[in-house]
């Protein structure tokens, strides 16, 4: 995952107990319209990549929720008609997600209380960075529960 860091940030919301860090592994990059009706597609991608990373069933559900929360925050703050750039990095037992959009002037960039509670519960770390022009989000989710069992086990 190689989205450049922002030179200047005017606000950062960050979960302190774990820094998101990209795993070594496959990268899946997506560009799509920054609209809320497209978040469902990202949930599908997140679930598929979570399975590829051998996350457990509960982990995959958490990853899906985390990607949804940050994507909704991102898209709600995006400049109308803009594209979002998103990257998933996948390795055994871990998926990292990073996304960026052109920021609508004055758009809120902090998750509300409910969204923060969800993000705290379902991620192993997330971060939100904003400049006047751009908004970036990222999260990492590692395997907590057991890997999916093979049929018959």
């Amino acid at each position: 995952m190689n989205i450049p860091s922002l030179a200047q940030t005017d606000s950062v919301a960050e979960r302190p107990r774990s820094e998101p860090s990209p795993p070594e592994g496959d990268v899946v990059a997506i560009t799509l319209p920054a609209r809320l009706d497209r978040v469902r597609l990202l949930r599908l991608v997140a679930a598929g990549l979570g399975v590829d990373a051998d996350l457990g069933v509960a982990d995959v559900e958490d990853l899906r929720s985390g990607v949804d929360e940050l994507s909704c925050l991102l898209f709600a703050a995006a400049r109308p008609g803009s594209l979002a750039r998103l990257r998933f990095a996948v390795a055994d037992g871990v998926v990292a997600f990073r996304a960026a959009v052109a920021r609508r002037p004055g758009a809120p960039i902090e998750p509300d209380e409910v969204s923060r509670l969800v993000l705290d519960a379902v991620t192993d770390g997330y971060a939100i960075e904003a400049s006047a022009e751009e908004l970036q989000v990222e999260l990492v989710r590692r395997r907590r529960s057991g890997a999916p069992q093979e049929p018959g086990e």
Binding site: D37, V39, R40, R43, P111, D112, S115, L117
Partner: protein
């Protein structure tokens, strides 16, 4: 009366039942919750008594969907009968548990 906005999401209103029953199926998120807000607000304004919101077929809930449910519960609390969440699915119960917001809702059963 059904409303479907794609991706298997839909809202069904049964105004002939007593109490009025609104059923949601599919993924309830920041996008689809707008439809639920509109339809249930309409039912709350028109129904004589309680409005039941059947969530047994909801396959995903995010904070946007939960905010919509909380808003509807608040709207319902100001009128006779109110709003009840009926048979919330596992994904709904999961988010209620994660956020500790169950106390905001009347849940049946």
């Amino acid at each position: 009366m059904d409303t479907a906005i794609g991706y298997g999401f839909g809202v069904r209103c049964d105004t002939a039942s007593e109490p009025t029953l609104v059923s949601v199926h599919g993924e309830l998120d920041a996008h689809t919750s707008r439809e639920v807000l509109a339809r249930v607000t309409e039912r709350l304004a028109e129904a004589e008594g309680c409005v039941d919101l059947d969530l047994s077929a909801v396959t995903f809930l995010d904070s946007g969907g939960l905010r919509a449910l909380a808003l509807l519960a608040a709207l319902g609390s100001g009128r006779r009968g109110g709003l009840r969440l009926v048979d919330p699915s596992a994904p709904v119960r999961r988010v209620l548990a994660l956020t500790g917001k169950s106390h905001r809702f009347t849940v049946a059963p």
